[in-house]
């Protein structure tokens, strides 16, 4: 599958939601925990060798499951392959919880659901559709009931 790598690399250089040096292990046979710079930008998680400017890799965070594992550890897996886990060992339990929370909210799908929720609440409270001012009230992506998990 081709993709615009150049733009992804550019995205990796943008200011991050969250960034930290975390021990990471990829779901490959024989792989071990390695220190990586992990950076969350929009719905992508980039990971870098700590002294390099270009990321080694990127994970698209849609249809993924973020699981709190043992102490200080969380994992990311994808719904079609739940056994393949990317593991992250944080410096502290607090840091671990923060990342779990941030990653759970990082997907575009999550934001969409949040938007629909707020839209609905505002509509109920004020009788007005807040998306009208944006001129996007008719778009399929923002309709109630269109997007089910």
């Amino acid at each position: 599958m081709r993709y615009n790598e150049r733009e992804l690399l550019c995205l990796a250089r943008q200011p991050a939601e969250k960034a930290a040096e975390i021990l990471m292990r990829v779901p490959k046979k024989g792989s071990v925990l390695k220190k990586r710079l992990v950076k969350l930008v929009v719905n992508f998680l980039f990971y870098f060798r700590t002294d390099e400017a270009e990321p080694i890799g990127a994970l698209l965070l849609e249809h993924c499951r973020i699981t709190k594992e043992e102490e200080n550890v969380f994992s990311i897996s994808f719904i079609e392959e739940p056994e393949r886990k990317y593991c992250f060992e944080c410096a502290s339990e607090e840091q671990c919880q923060e990342w779990v929370e941030a990653l759970k909210r990082a997907s575009y799908e999550f934001m969409r659901r949040t938007l629909i929720f707020y839209r609905n609440e505002i509509q109920k409270m004020t009788g007005k559709d807040p998306l009208e001012q944006f001129g996007i009230s008719e778009e399929a992506r923002f309709q109630l009931g269109t997007h089910k998990q």
């Binding site: 599958m1 615009n4 943008q14 929009v42 392959e81 934001m111 969409r112 659901r113 938007l115 807040p130």
Partner: protein, 272 residues
């Protein structure tokens, strides 16, 4: 750079609804080895699927795997002066980046694509969400400000329950509009009987109460009785600023779970 391609391809082809789909002709980008622009521009018809901030394209509509992906962050979408009619381009800020030139079947298709693509970015979505968050907070504050208005009785027996769970929405009710332009169901400061309800996550005091949009268990005199509703659920005291969406989601979700159970039991007993 590695990408979790298998998962990305799965996301492209799974049945989660797409934001926009259709055939577009995509300009073939070739490397020009000659000094002169001696090339025939050619286009290839592909099936495009927009999901969130990702634009996938497939060789055929029935293809099981995407041929390619365009990540739509930091791009602009513009009509372009190609020789082709109904052409538009996706361009990136990055100097020297190539543009994706796409051709739609007609004027309305082109307009629909340009609209959908220009609002596809995560950043745009985030902007809208933040704006709505502010508006919701303000709506809550205004309602809290009219504490003194008499509580409206919520007994219209035909009313269905309001559940803010996005996955489960009954009929939309239009709230009644008061003359100040804001609507209310009657913002009481607490549950009937004046008991104060515990702050859910034990954080700061005096949160703005959400309007009571559902009948509490106590006032279930008319209409559909709901014996299973957890009576401890306070009607209007979920502190909005501490209740992020996921908390509200699970809070309302309790009620959904109970209702669903009731419904299933009723089905078993042969009720319509």
């Amino acid at each position: 750079m590695k990408l979790n391609e298998r998962s990305v391809a799965h996301y492209a082809t799974c049945d989660s609804p797409a934001d926009h789909t259709g055939f577009l002709r995509k300009r073939v980008e070739r490397h020009h080895h000659h000094a002169h622009h001696h090339h025939a521009t050619s286009y290839q018809r592909r099936w495009f699927v927009l999901k969130g901030n990702l634009l996938f394209y497939f060789e055929e509509r029935e293809s099981r795997e995407p041929m390619g992906l365009v990540v739509l962050e930091g791009c602009t979408v513009e009509l372009c002066e190609a020789a082709e009619e109904f052409a538009f381009a996706i361009r990136f800020d990055d100097a020297g980046a190539r543009a994706y030139v796409l051709v739609a079947d007609g004027q309305s298709a082109m307009e629909a694509w340009v609209k959908a693509l220009s609002r596809a970015s995560f950043d745009y979505m985030r902007l809208v969400v933040r704006e709505l968050e502010k508006q919701l907070e303000e709506a809550c504050k205004s309602l809290a400000a009219c504490r003194k208005s008499p509580r409206r009785s919520s007994s219209s027996s035909g009313r269905k329950r309001h559940l803010s769970n996005p996955a489960l929405l009954p009929l939309q009710e239009k709230p009644t509009v008061l003359e100040n332009g804001y609507s209310t169901w009657g913002c009481g400061g607490g549950t009937p009987g004046g008991a104060t309800c515990p702050d859910h996550d034990g954080s700061h005091a005096k949160p703005p109460p959400l309007p009571p949009r559902r009948r509490s268990a106590a006032s279930n005199a008319t209409g559909c009785p709901a014996p299973g509703i957890p009576p401890a659920v306070p009607e209007s005291l979920v502190p909005l600023e501490t209740a992020c969406f996921s908390k509200l989601h699970s809070w309302y979700g309790q009620e959904v779970a109970v209702l669903r159970q009731e419904w299933q039991e009723r089905q078993k007993r042969g009720h319509p």
